[in-house]
């Protein structure tokens, strides 16, 4: 029995040359859920809405008035983007908490070179019995590796079939890139060529330097967006795993509630920050 935590998403298969990771599979599930929700709620639109249409109307009206309070009259332009970001992220975050996600999987044979460094070092220490603690000859290390390879050819590693999409850094970087590129797109769409004065400005040296800083700040926004979402969701998964490891029955419950709240807040923060930054970008009309 071991605590299974993996920083990166594991590959579970290939489509042609493209590796399919478990978080990519979960992303497809989330996309399917969103697609089905959209189809089910818009198939028979009517003035007197049926159950699912009225639920979606409540959610979208709430989002619309919220984003309208953030960006004012630009809300019509950016609402499709930020609302999709919100819905996608919240369903991804909550999907990662479903029972079965991260727990149902299969055991994969461990390739010898994938044995982690920690076990290698421990093995080496056992072999040398503390005689050479600091300096380990390379030959000896190799010998140990081959010895380990012999003994652990039948060892297996657990690979979950599904993993929360936002617990994978690739996904959050993609979302962050979408958000930051959309800021530039809406800027150029609204202000035209004048928008580029935000970055390249020769009117006076101070504004020129400010433009340089704006470039850096936009690049750092990608990193900050990506790591905030990834860090929160991944940390939540680690927290739940550790809690379930320490005390499997009652202890994880309050943390599950916390993670539901964190998933909602992070989706809200991501979309709100996107709209706030778009608003800032559109306000550069000097």
């Amino acid at each position: 029995m071991a605590l299974h935590i993996s920083l990166a998403a594991e590959t579970i298969g290939h489509i042609g040359p493209l590796p399919v990771t478990n978080s990519l599979l979960m992303t497809w599930v989330v996309m399917l859920i969103l697609l089905l929700l959209a189809l089910a709620s818009t198939r028979k639109l009517s003035l007197v809405p049926n159950a699912i249409q009225s639920i979606m109307e409540i959610i979208l009206e709430g989002l619309y008035s919220f984003f309208a309070s953030v960006v004012g009259h630009h809300v019509k332009m950016i609402f499709p983007l930020v609302a999709s970001l919100f819905l996608f992220i919240i369903i991804s975050n909550w999907g990662g908490l479903l029972p079965g996600v991260g727990t149902i999987g299969f055991n994969e044979l461990v390739v010898a070179e994938e044995t982690s460094h920690e076990t290698l070092v421990q093995e080496v220490k056992q072999e040398t019995t503390g005689a050479h603690e600091t300096v380990i000859p390379i030959e000896e290390e190799k010998k140990v590796t081959t010895a380990e390879e012999k003994t652990t050819t039948h060892a297996t590693k657990f690979v979950p079939l599904l993993r929360g999409p936002t617990a994978d850094l690739n996904m959050t970087i993609a979302l962050a890139l979408i958000a930051v590129i959309a800021m530039q797109y809406f800027g150029f769409k609204t202000l035209g060529v004048k928008y580029s004065h935000r970055f390249v400005n020769f009117h006076n040296p101070i504004l020129g330097f400010v433009g340089f800083l704006e470039v850096i700040s936009d690049v750092s926004k990608v990193i900050s967006f990506a790591f905030r979402l990834f860090g929160n969701i991944f940390a939540g998964e680690v927290l739940l795993a550790v809690m379930a490891f320490l005390m499997p029955f009652i202890a994880p419950m309050p943390f599950l509630m916390l993670e539901l709240f964190v998933g909602f807040i992070q989706a809200l923060v991501f979309s709100t920050l996107t709209s706030v930054f778009i608003n800032v970008a559109l306000a550069h009309e000097e």
Binding site: I5, S6, L7, F66, S69, V70, E118, V121, Q122, K125, E133, S224, F227, R228, F230, G231, N232, F234, A235, V238, I265, Q266, L268, V269, T272, L273, V276
Partner: protein, 75 residues
């Protein structure tokens, strides 16, 4: 000391030190927000939105520390 011991110590130290200041910041932000809501209860929803944004910014620092600690521990 060997590498494993250093990893344990440093990953613990990273999140411990990196958690102090975001905790202080979140406390200050929330204290001020509660004060503002107490003075002007009608503006509660506006204040709450700004507060959550500010808290998210402050919390992001702790999360960077946490990700760094996890990377030190597991990678």
């Amino acid at each position: 000391m060997d590498l494993n011991a250093w990893r344990l110590i440093m990953s613990g130290a990273t999140i411990a030190i990196g958690g102090i200041f975001p905790a202080l910041a979140i406390g200050m932000i929330t204290a001020k927000a509660v004060e503002a809501i107490g003075r002007n209860p009608e503006s509660a929803s506006d204040v709450r939105t700004s507060m959550i944004l500010g808290v998210a910014f402050a919390e992001a620092i702790a999360i960077y520390g946490l990700v760094t600690a996890l990377i030190i521990k597991f990678v």
